[in-house]
Amino acid sequence: MAKQVIQADGTRIIENERAFSWKRFMFQWEWMLVLMLIIVNIINISSSSNYANFDNIMNAMRDFLDKAIVVFPMALVIVLGEIDISVASIMALSSVTMGMAYQAGVPMGLAIVIGLLVGTLCGFINGIILVKFPELSSMIVTLATQIIFRGIASILLETGSVGGFPDWFNSFGWGKVGSIPIILIFTIIEALFFVYLLHFTKFGRRTYAMGNSVMVSKFSGIKTNKIKLIIFTMAGLLAAVAAVFLASKMGSVRPDVAKGYELDIIAMVVLGGVASSGGKGKILGCILSILVIGFLRYGLGLVNVTSQVIMIIVGTLLIVAVAITNLKSSFGQAKWVKNLSNNIKGVKAQR
């Protein structure tokens, strides 16, 4: 356990290197999520005989993983202390341009590349606006680009839809390698990449630093603008990747595709324990929260709970998650908690 010296005036001196502590290890938000995941699965298995079935579980993953692709870059955005609510519109615009390119006779492979480029460009535009106008909040900027991107998509395709993609394209969303869906394999690789990026690279450390204080980071020599730009561009690119999977799943593209996805995505990130104030959170938490929300929705759907009730349950879960991640700070200041903890300390001291 880390050695703490509590001085008479109440300030604490903590050693530089914190030693490994079982207590600290066990009291992480991620364990809460593991617990939730276990409980959700127990409920699902006991309430529906169709749940504990390998194929069904794999199919369920196929249904909710298209959102998961955007959850990881969104986690980085939120760790940065920013937000990107334009991701769903980027999905719409990039899938529409992909569809239109294919309709215009471009080979499907190239059309996909065009879609990905458009998504990347959209993310880059978000980033560059935020970098050039640091006084604007990302909430406002991405709210505006959300409307603009969706608007462009609606102008391009008006009210129609494009479909009739080649068969191999449909396998992105529906295909399986053995009995593992392609989208699951992609998401696992992506998750590993983001774990590495956020937790094992300088880039990741700097992202956390910026989430705590952009000003301090800047004066410490971190190229804050560059990092911000890279993260928003990455969000755009992966939104476009998600759009490819979604277009493949639906076999067609429409300008109003993925409407409301941004909220589901942000919800998964926040439930994953990424603090909306920035600087806190792990990719592992996001992975777990994707599974918790995904299986909760799937399981409730299997036992025919109506969609409104499912929404209420997920919403409640979210409020609890936000409350708990912020509980430590707000809760610790409550008077009765202080008294209580002082008493406990007193008892310990007497021993």
Binding site: Q4, R12, K23, F27, M32, L35, M36, I39, V40, I43, S47, S48, S49, N50, Y51, N56, N59, A60, R62, D63, F64, E158, T159, G160, S161, N170, W174, K249, M250, G251, S252, R254, D256, V257, K259, G260, G299, L300, G301, L302, V303, N304, V305, S307, V309, I310, M311, I313, T316, L317, V320, I324, L327, K328, F331, G332, V337, L340, S341, K345
Partner: protein, 349 residues
């Protein structure tokens, strides 16, 4: 510090436990229907455009009635928002539940094809109703009324209401809604074929309210800014109600017709805002859908032209070729509601 942490963690654990216990309670109520989705029993599922849609609930009433007569379990499902993405999720869940048949009112004709094909590959009977899926994604479609009669009838009604002089606007549902688009096509065809008759009643604009009351309201307000618009055709119950309310609030002289629920539209028909409108009986559509799935399941029909079966109290029904490819089962002609008969119908549905 640590004690605080332990405390907060304990409380959070209790909170989330109780929350999940709450879910458990809810799923308990659902598990009664679970027993009915066991492999041994037969379940016909009904997938609505969105779960709150009052029209869809009326259709389901008939579906439930048919299932009751046949002796199978009926199941009502629907997404919280009218999108094909969410309908795909629901279809996949129904496949996992091993239901026997799926009846679906589609939010997009093509987007559901992979999901429905997979369902059919597993031996599940698939029919569409209200808004059709494409011919490859279904075994047959339940057509509420001849689209030609609806389209031509509505435009003629609008013409009669403005007495042959005044602009017409259409307030539709979503731009992808197959049925609305088909009716609008017939409206345009009727105008094209009789250019002299409709010379003074041009079709000024087609607006899309997305079957969302708020959007339909603002779209109606936008239509009213054009003083040439004298009559609005709303071929959707949600749009019609929203348009009726706007016209009433603004005390506008613009008239309204379309496809509306008698119970919702009665005040507007009585006040003269809507001189008359059309609809079929939504309960009968659901009823016919239930019997069609059952006929497919029993093997009485295969969903090809020339098949016929007995649909309960509706009598014998035949499978015919549909306009957009595939086959359909036709319910009948649209029914006219005006100030004379509305009092009697507004209590029915």
């Amino acid at each position: 510090m640590n004690t605080k942490k332990i405390l907060s963690i304990c409380i959070s654990a209790v909170l989330s436990m109780s929350l999940l216990a709450g879910c458990g309670g809810k799923t308990d109520s659902g598990s009664t229907s679970k027993s009915s989705t066991d492999k041994s029993s037969v379940t016909y599922a009904f997938v609505a455009k969105d779960v709150q849609n009052p029209y869809m609930k009326k259709v389901y009433e008939g579906f439930e009635k048919a299932c009751g007569e046949i002796g199978v379990t009926a199941l009502y499902k629907g997404p919280e928002a009218a999108t094909p993405e969410k309908q795909i999720e629901i279809i996949n869940q129904l496949v996992a539940q091993n239901v026997t048949g799926i009846a679906i009112a589609a939010n997009d004709a093509d987007a559901l094809q992979p999901a429905l094909k997979e369902a059919m590959n597993k031996g599940i009977k698939v029919v569409s109703l209200d808004s059709a899926v494409n011919a490859q994604s279904r075994q047959t479609h339940i057509q509420q009324a001849d689209p030609e009669k609806i389209g031509r009838g509505l435009i003629q009604a609008a013409y009669d209401m403005v007495k042959g002089d005044g602009g017409i606007a259409v307030l539709s549902a979503t731009a992808q809604a197959t049925n609305q688009n088909l009716w609008i096509e017939w409206m345009q065809k009727e105008m094209k074929e009789n250019p002299t008759k409709y010379a003074k009643t041009p079709l000024i604009k087609i607006a899309y309210g997305d079957d969302d009351p708020t959007k339909s309201t603002s779209e109606t307000q936008a239509l009213l800014t054009n003083s040439d618009v004298k009559v609005i055709i709303a071929p959707t119950t949600v749009g019609m109600l929203a348009a009726g309310k706007v016209l009433q609030d603004k005390k506008s002289t613009v008239l309204l017709t379309g496809l509306g629920l008698p119970s919702e539209m009665a005040p507007f028909i009585e006040s003269g805002i809507c001189p008359w409108m059309y609809l079929w009986n939504p309960v009968d559509i659901g009823y016919l859908t239930g019997y069609t799935i059952d006929a497919l399941k029993k093997g009485d029909i295969k969903g090809v032209k020339g098949d016929s079966f007995k649909a309960g109290t509706l009598g014998d029904k035949a499978v015919t070729d549909a306009a957009g490819g595939g086959t359909e089962v036709m319910l009948g002609d649209p029914f006219k509601f005006d100030s004379k008969n509305i009092a009697e119908w507004k209590t029915v549905y």
